[in-house]
Subunit: 263 residues, 2 copies
């Protein structure tokens, strides 16, 4: 395959709650293997890191609902996200016929990050992605070789330290980089059907959200706190060249059921 | 760089005792970054996996001096080798100017393995490398892209399971695969100066071992138990096309002090 042969790219984010559910993960991995290539997967971490921290008696400190990553916690998330979760997904994808390669942002310097300023809040070894410096050429080289990158949310600062990053932010940044290679369609997969008008009504799926409609949904309070960063990330991606972002259930990767975010 | 531009390849194995020594590892990583490219690194695990198993109260079972890898132990070695150790080395190499990429054998199916037969001894999730099926093309693609592969000793069976493999065996198999790309020189780095005639005499380094001399060294008992598998591996590599294998101290990577194994 050469660069001109890449007609479109699918970028898929899979959330932590799916990672934690062995059956849901198995179904998702088999569906992802069937998704047309070239494609890229970004996975969250799940609760395994918290459970491992507890077993190792490493205190988990949260500020404003976000985890503080001290050195011990950084080691834990590196072991769990870049080691266990990433390599298990890769092995399962290989078994399902998808030639996956597991990567952190440090590998081939593919996702450079900057340690977040300790002011006003010191979150420790947390990295904000240097989105403009994603190594797009290397991602293209992998895709052209028929290899499917699988990213965890561990990055690095280029000075020798690994960093803990937000998987949604990585997914968006990778999708934007991918859009510079070929038209890119993004799928945010999690444990819900999409953005619902009424969370208690499974038939109230919102099929499409445009910027104007998003303003309306926020003002009316239909879009809740947990969903706002996801939709913000999605809009940031489409505004930077991604064709569309679909927020959907991990069981619906191969169907078009979900909420499409587009301009 | 295209394939024809690769004149020679350096394949380096770094042992677990160096991984466990932060200062020695730091020196080694900086030296490795200076070694001429293209190059490949294979690292052992060190004692961190054993320490993590202890903290998690996972019993370590040894048979004939070899670790039995049950499912919990497989998770531990995957976290430590493919996660923590591999990504820390990659981040340090990136900081030292070497564009490293960390890989397990599952990634891009680069090192397929087979679970060892449970007869006569069931070692659990231990993988013997399928040396003839190493993905040489992908390794060549990485080297031509200016990327330096860094392998841990985790492999997979192609059926969805990760496996724990021997790092020395992986190093030899990778070196043999590399020899099909370009003339390959291998360096086995550990915490000793090389093969010594007398372990208590630091001036007794054996500079070169040929097959005939090896027979003599074994018969006279000069070569001890721990060194025999290393030298056997080295001879297997040179018999399969690697130009030479040098067994040396991790501080001497850039010098020619060590024991050269050649035909």
């Amino acid at each position: 395959m050469n660069m001109n042969d890449i007609k479109q790219i699918n970028v898929v984010k899979i959330g932590g709650n799916v990672i934690d559910n062995a059956d849901a993960l198995e179904r998702f991995v088999n569906d992802f293997a069937q998704l047309p290539s070239p494609k890229i997967l970004i996975h969250g971490g799940g609760k395994l890191a918290t459970r491992l921290s507890e077993k190792l008696e490493i205190p988990t400190q949260m500020i404003d609902g976000r985890r503080v990553t001290d050195r011990d916690t950084l080691d834990v998330v590196t072991m769990v996200y870049a080691g266990l979760v990433n390599k298990q997904i890769v092995a399962k994808l290989q078994a399902a016929g998808c030639n996956a390669i597991g990567l952190s942002g440090a590998d081939a310097d593919v996702i450079p990050a900057r340690r977040r300023s300790p002011i006003p809040v010191d979150f420790g070894f947390v990295g904000d992605i240097d989105a403009g410096n994603i190594n797009t050429d290397f991602i293209a080289t992998l895709l052209k070789s028929g290899v499917t990158p699988v990213f965890c949310a561990i990055t690095h600062d280029g000075k020798g330290s690994l960093l803990n990053s937000n998987a949604d932010s990585i997914a968006s940044a990778v999708a934007v980089a991918s859009a510079a290679i070929a038209p890119t369609f993004m799928h945010f997969c999690f444990e819900k059907t999409g953005v619902m008008r009424d969370v208690d009504d499974s038939t109230s799926l919102i099929k499409e959200i445009t910027p104007a409609y998003y303003v309306e949904l926020r003002e009316s309070g239909v879009v809740n706190k947990g969903m706002i960063p996801k939709i913000d990330n999605a809009f940031a991606a489409v505004k930077s060249g991604v064709k569309s972002v679909t927020i959907k259930h991990s069981d619906n990767l191969l169907s078009d059921i979900g909420t499409v975010i587009k301009l």
